[in-house]
Symmetry: D2
Subunit: 163 residues, 4 copies
């Protein structure tokens, strides 16, 4: 069974603009990563948008939802900024699609030596193949239901919330 990866940017795909000395977006690194991790699951990756999740409005989140609906696959991984990942997860969770959707991202951009990006991608690609239909967040080596998670912004980790 194949997986669709919907790319929305976030820290995961940040690019270093050396002329201005800043972090921005250019191309997604997903295709390159999928090659060297030797993933044999058929994967279709699409760039939905390349945005810092702090800059997302409802319209941006609805675009993500629309991509999920349109996907032929019922296993969808979404790479997304961590700051408002929970908000987008809520939009997707409330839509109640008959799909397994796992969101992930990174605290440190892939382009850095010690990034969590590739580890998180492994977590999400695995979770989406095993879990029943629903919406989840895979971060910090754990998998959370969309309505039982929050980002602890002081510590930079995701935590389970009481039900």
């Amino acid at each position: 069974m194949s997986i669709r990866i919907i790319i929305t940017g976030g820290t995961f795909d940040k690019h270093y603009d050396e002329i201005h000395g800043s972090l921005t977006f250019k191309d997604s690194h997903l295709p390159e990563i999928l090659t060297f991790v030797r993933c044999s699951v058929p994967i279709e990756a699409e760039v939905n948008q390349l945005i810092d999740s702090l800059d997302m409005h409802t319209s941006n989140r609805l675009r993500v939802l629309e991509s999920c609906r349109r996907a032929l696959e019922d296993q969808v991984v979404i790479t997304h900024g961590t700051d408002t990942m929970v908000e987008t997860a809520a939009v997707l969770g409330e839509a109640g699609l008959a799909k397994t959707i796992v969101m992930t991202g990174a605290m440190v951009p892939y382009i850095f030596n010690n990034s969590d990006a590739v580890f998180n991608l492994g977590c999400a690609v695995t979770a989406v193949q095993i879990l029943p239909h629903g919406v989840y967040i895979a971060m910090n080596g754990r998998v959370f239901n969309w309505d039982k998670v929050r980002k602890n912004k002081a510590l930079g980790v995701f935590e389970e919330t009481g039900s």
Copy 2:
């Protein structure tokens, strides 16, 4: 719930000996990896042995089984050479322990720029928390039951076998 990682070496943990220009073993890289991937699941890592799985005898595999039995955790990840991972999985599978055991490894050593090691670790750490008791192999982005998998040595990938 915490996870025990039993380290047995394999390509995952190969070390470059520059004096002799060869790949050998020194220390495990697991502790360093677990730090930068920001895994918040409590993990206990133990070095069981550091061996190329082509050099394993039954006694080596029984040592791994013994470590699994002894573990207080019922979620166990094992890093292992890929060449005879299926053999060790069979020893563990036939023992029928009341634990979820996920084996993983790497086709390219962690110390290389484009290694699958960290991705595979993410896959295994996730699978072990979700799957029911049993023995599994997590490689190439997929999860296989211990008795339905083989390594395709020509292509260097793991495949499902007919039941």
Copy 3:
């Protein structure tokens, strides 16, 4: 003969602050780099300041000059931001110290996968051992006299200027 490396920060030593998603300073990476490049030349590294060179005032540049004067070594490498490296080079050049001083930096921080930092360090460490007393900039694989160089900010490269 030993070399003193005077660290002033710049893009070379930028650090990623994952809580705020920004590039800042923490510790210098020089000690770690000098280890893995297997440099057998005796090197003394000191952190003079950790600053973006766009934020430097005359007082900051005079601090660098003072460190050069104070150094027991007559071979000095300075890691510095590229944006105003030429300005600091002028302060040092006009002081006319009886030392060989080579300034270098990086267009992409060391912490990134594809950084020029380590290459530039090799250039500077080599140039400082060969060149006669004077002040130089080593960037983009070239060595420039302090009074015959400028940074082309549009292209992000250093160029020789007419005499």
Copy 4:
């Protein structure tokens, strides 16, 4: 003035063959390295051979000499295995070409995370532009005359020998 880089293999360009779990040769990494280090010096790179220097015979070294003679440039960098770099340097040194020739290599292959390859390349590219005609070895951050150097095989470093 442009530089010719003559590639002969050695540890610098080793490639990991994951099917056999061994280090071998495939393509040179020089073109890729020259891109990300932002070297603005015109450089022509040619693959002369891809061989472990322990496997070199006199014919292999004469091939390197021939490439140096044929080069239009009078600034030549040679990437070479470290084990018999001194032997090839002697062949080149005795030929007495009217060129500046700097040999370098790596103790740890470029494909590894903590390789000295890129640092050494920076050293060689810089030395070749400054030094007078002659044959040199640039390793461990130092530059040696071809007839005053040896590789300390126990320690894995290059040292100056008495004249």
